[in-house]
Amino acid sequence: MKRIYFDHSATTPVDREVAELMMEYMTEKYGNPSSVHAFGRETRKAVEEAREKVAALINATPNEIFFTSGGTEGDNLAIKGVAYANRKKGNHIITTAIEHHAVLHTCEYLEKQGFTITYLPVDEHAMVRMEDLKNAITDKTILISIMFANNEVGTIQPIKEIGQLAREKGIYFHTDAVQAAGNCPIDVKELNIDLLTMSGHKFYASKGVGALYIRRGVRVEEIQHGGGHERNMRAGTENVPGIVGLGKAAEVAMRDMDKKVAYVKGLRDKIIAGITEKVPHIKLNGHPDLRMPGNVNFSFMYIEGESLLLNLDLKGIAASSGSACTSGSLDPSHVLLSMGLTHEVAHGSLRVSLGRGNTEEEVNYFLNVVPEIVERLRSMSPLYGS
């Protein structure tokens, strides 16, 4: 059976060029960049070149880029690092209710360490209201951490306004751009971003590598202790294959950005139109326009997400859901609930996240099989038609 991958927000395949470069830096150019000999010098150079490419992707300078093991570490370093380094200035942090757990659980941990966290609510489209943000700021606020684009419903936040407000107030602004980086254009200077998290495996680099952008001058305390790697910001032998791969992926992303965004958006809009036309009792989750190019998120009333996923899986289609049954947790997606969805509606959510490798044919196949699956599950549902 043909397998169709519609789960690019969970992770992406590694680009062929990226993987081949990584192979080279595993088996031939394997020196430790800290070593002074030829093997070390050649990987040091490669790491610094990768830093330049990653910086270019978001219009930063290379010395503002710090390599990490992924998005979760980046979020931890950004938030704890700013919190610990600026404790004397204040102990208040503002974030949102719809952040990824890497941000939310880090904030919850900091609450135990004596920090106060405000979790901003969002509107029905998962959008933060600038008014709420303004009202939440106190003279103890040291950090605003608001994600660039939501991983479940794809909503893109008003980053530019937030950045401007934070800069005016002299508060650091961190954005978790794990979904956005490499998948839509970002300019940290224009957007007044102070810290930005990215993760390789969301844009065709490998799992296990990422980067944190820290604007020059922002005070951050390191959280992983050891050798003086990454200018004392992140100890540990550099993941050279991962890093050179990240650099290559950044280069490819930058080169193909406009084309890729337009292409993926086309597929996305086709799915949204198709489902809307073919399936009754549905609801598009997330913002109608200000959403990630590859994100589709629908709630199918009266049915449950895992059953839907399983049926799609049996048809060879890989997607994701915000249902509690899928996640193994007790509650469905905190994002969907924050947007005001009821438990039942949140349960019936399906996320399709598209990538540059998907085809029109795959979309057509999906649009063919979804209506019948939904119909079948609804016929089994005690909530439907009774």
Binding site: E306, S307, S323, C325, P382
Partner: protein, 123 residues
């Protein structure tokens, strides 16, 4: 993740549907994840002659619903009351640890339906 038995009952669930004017109906909601299962019984001489279900829930919930309806058909009410959640899970070749609570749904709905029948009959 799921056994072949679970997938079989999930893809071809037995006894889906409703029974009009059923002798007993039981509905339970799953406190853990908010899902719902409803079981309809037809009873003659204390023997379950027909059974149907409707379920809003995960693959395991649907499969256990289907399995429990298979297990009770033709059984006496006393025998049916003795079907435990564990027995349903075992009949399916086991469930993943995170899904064990779903099997509770099926046996509980069955027992509720029987209780409903007894209560109605008592009137």
């Amino acid at each position: 993740m799921y056994t072949d038995k679970v997938m079989d009952h999930f893809t071809n669930p037995r006894n889906v549907g409703e029974i009009k004017d059923a002798a007993g109906v039981g509905e339970v909601g799953n406190a853990k994840c908010g899902d719902i299962m409803r079981i309809y019984l037809q009873v003659e001489n204390d023997i379950i002659t027909d059974v149907k279900f409707k379920t809003f829930g995960c693959g395991a919930a649907i499969a256990t619903s289907s399995m429990v309806t298979e297990m009770v058909k033709g059984k006496t009410l006393d025998e049916a009351l003795e079907i435990s959640n564990q027995a349903v899970a075992e009949a399916l070749g086991g469930l993943p640890p995170a899904k064990m609570h779903c099997s509770n749904l099926a046996a509980d709905a069955l027992h509720e339906a029987i209780k409903d029948y007894i209560a109605k009959k008592g009137k």
